[in-house]
Symmetry: C2
Subunit: 480 residues, 2 copies
């Protein structure tokens, strides 16, 4: 009887091989998995102490078999098989682009990103990391931006629990030898996020570094990427973000290097997980029209440009960093909860997505945005409330067409469904953008108090009477 593996779960081949020399460098290992006509080549990796692993995520149901290939005889020509069976109810497969501007899991389940950022949460030691996971259980986020490498930055001066590389006998980091404990730990955290239904938006490089991981030789960068991709691409919930603030590393990694990173990741990842990259300065936004980029990540405070970005790139847009709720001295980390919720609503009603982060000063410098822990702010439940509304709606909000009045009133819809966000406007009457004919129900949503009030059922062109206070949204649902 074959092993049974759920579709989009992970199958792992464990092989014993050489431990002498530097197996990370010396040994090449891959396997071809096949299922009828379907063939997929995946890279294996060295996991220390003579153990080699090949991980595979079956994307199709049915009988899969594999054969390994290696420059080491003991690892070559190994074969096996397993049955890929129906996934459990909570397993929907990796997230893909859907309908140009939106996302869905591989099984077709729509996925609307409502993510947060805890850059270095997986480097904080078990106590804090487990607290972070506990917070995430109920916080309502379904994506986490997180760095593979540890982070050195304001509020982030503590040493990580693990390092990605071993040290050589000279006391210097040996970029050719990965610390397998680091990666085992890291991928456990990725898996735990998956168990919570949270996509892990993995940031492969970032500039906030005191160890030299952001300035390795390019060949070391490339090898690191291959290693990370070999270890992690079989995790269904992985997204690849080439960098946080790539433009702050352009001196060491010019644009062609970033292009190369995209190529390496794409080549090593047979599942084609989502790939993007995150800018620092807005004027250095990456050219997201490049074919290797699956969706747009942007850092910019003014989410009212969402429609412009959609038009410019023709891909799903996530403004991951439209500034964070908090009170630190940096502008990007001290907006009010109300303002962040406001920006989420604007983003969503304009057919895009936004990202959460929280940066309140803390006596021990435990800021959610970097270390995780617990949330101190007020935006998270309101963002979760918006997520619920979006998930209850039809597949994918497209901005209403025409400039006026939608340049001032973010509004989107799908068929006769509408989500109209009034924000700083407080009209007592409203008539724009309602369905021209047919019956429809209108709800008034208080985006801050998280109340949904039924305004009534209407037919064709009407003028609605509204409460006349700010931060309301209208939800219009066709009834016929």
């Amino acid at each position: 009887m074959d092993t049974a593996v759920e579709q989009w779960a992970r199958f792992e081949v464990r092989l014993a091989g050489p431990s002498a020399g530097n197996p990370f460098v010396d040994v090449q290992l891959s396997a071809e998995f096949s299922n009828g006509q379907k063939r997929m080549r995946v890279d294996g990796f060295y996991d220390g102490e003579g153990v080699y692993r090949i991980r595979f995520m079956p994307t199709e149901l049915g009988q899969w078999s594999y054969v390994t290939e290696s420059n080491v005889d003991a690892l070559s020509g190994q074969s096996g098989a397993f049955a890929c069976v129906q996934p459990g109810a909570d397993r929907h497969g990796p997230v893909r682009v859907r309908d140009t501007f939106h996302f869905a899991h591989a099984d077709g389940t729509p996925y609307y990103p409502f993510g947060t950022t805890c850059y270095a949460w997986a480097h904080q030691g078990d106590a804090l990391e487990e607290q972070t996971l506990e917070t995430l259980k109920t916080a309502g986020f379904n994506k986490m931006r997180m760095c593979v490498f540890p982070k050195d930055y304001i509020f982030n001066k503590n040493e990580p629990a693990y390092y990605p590389f071993e040290k050589g006998s000279d006391g210097e980091w040996d970029f050719t030898r990965y610390d397998v404990d680091f990666f085992r730990h890291f991928e456990r955290r990725v898996e735990e996020l998956g168990d919570l239904g949270i996509e892990a938006d993995l940031i492969l490089f970032h500039p906030y570094d005191r160890w030299g991981f952001s300035t390795m030789p390019h060949e070391s960068d490339y090898a690191y990427l291959r290693y990370v991709v070999a270890r992690l691409s079989s995790y269904a919930n992985v997204w690849w973000s080439m960098a946080n603030e790539y433009d702050f590393m352009l001196r060491d990694k010019p644009m062609e290097v970033w292009d190369r990173f995209f190529d390496i990741v794409r080549l090593g990842d047979p599942y084609d997980h989502l790939r993007s990259i995150h800018n620092g300065r807005y004027e250095h936004s990456y050219d997201h029209t490049k074919e290797c980029v699956t969706h747009v990540c942007v850092q910019y405070w003014d989410v009212k440009r969402m429609r412009q970005w959609r038009a410019q790139y023709g891909k799903p847009v996530i403004d991951d960093e439209c500034e964070y709720e908090g009170n630190i001295k940096r502008n990007w980390g001290n907006i009010t909860a109300r303002e962040l919720v406001h920006r989420f609503w604007i983003s969503v009603c304009y057919g895009g997505y936004a990202g959460h982060g929280e940066t309140y000063e803390h006596p021990e410098d435990v800021l959610w945005w970097s270390k995780g822990g617990v949330l101190h702010g007020q935006s998270a439940p309101r963002i979760a409330f918006l997520r619920r509304i979006v998930e209850e709606g039809p597949r994918g909000i497209e901005p209403l067409s025409g400039d006026f009045p939608w340049d001032r009133t973010p509004a989107g819809g799908c068929g006769d469904y509408r989500l109209i966000y009034l924000g700083e406007h407080q009209p007592r009457h409203f008539e724009n953008g309602l369905p021209e004919r047919g019956r429809y129900a209108v709800d008034v949503i208080d985006t801050w108090d998280m109340q949904i009030e039924t305004l009534g059922v209407f037919e064709g062109k009407v003028e609605l009477e509204l409460p006349g206070r700010p931060y309301l949204a209208l939800r219009v649902r066709p009834l016929d």
Copy 2:
């Protein structure tokens, strides 16, 4: 003994002349006023019932004499004299551009526009008009945008008390015959504003019209302008705004006609009162670089573009219509008081100016923005509070140089004086843009609660500790 006229007050010559025919068209009348080397030519006008007037505002102290000139003998060669004496304490003369981006009265007193809009207030009959004046006594505004012509628009369907033209025997408006009662009434209102220290930003044309005043033949437009200018240019508090939303009249009045309007007003107004023009759609903003335009008027919600407009036009910028406090169904008239106050602070700290308006639904359609009356909102006292702060500060706020962090924190200053507006940001600590050396006092200003709290006296580069709530501003005053 000569008549004594205060500098920048009004001297009027009254002459008797023909009343037959159409004196508005048939009779040309002007006078040359001289004071030593200084000579100024001003147009007279027909005021009905055989009365002709020439009004003059002396701009220099000393002995003035005049001689009239006319195509009618009885009106020609009339002469006289008066003494121009020191102005009273409240008389500062017309407002001029000062230091490229700011304003001052002719006597050098800085003038910072904090204006409001009541388009048709002078067409509402005495009871409401007097109520408006009563409101203005304490409201804190020092400029009023108001139309010469009556207005037809939503909430504005009532007939005006007076019309600017007489009707002919055919029952149609005779654009060659002005209704002098209309103008006497109108200029009384202009004068009453002056008595309250309020500049009258007179809108000469606008599209909201059911009488045909916006679509007269061009020759009638030109004659009307000459007549208005002859009657009103001697009022020190007059500004000329060629139009409200000129671009909505472009079909009837193409761009060269607007250029001609500027020329006619400039030619007829020897005092060179401020001249501008107001757009409807933002993309139709007038080319304010034209030499005839003294300052920029813009209608646009996003006041964060203030620095861009300053750079583009190199003139003082007033965003007269950055949307109004209110709750009507139009987007431009339903922002919260808090949002409008926010936009005022942004404008001012970026070295520009904004305009107020109020549009709350009213059972009798008496909306401040059009008809005046009383204020129902909450922004006016906060705008007056900001005005007081600006008037207490040094002459003219220039935006702090450099993009970052000032693209997110509107901040301006003058020498080591600073006004830094934190808006939606709520930092607990702050260090940017403080003086590099010397002692200075810092106040924390709550822009909504209108409280000023002294934070302390500091020296050189420091990090300030702040309350960490939104809508605060910092005022920094050098002490040495």
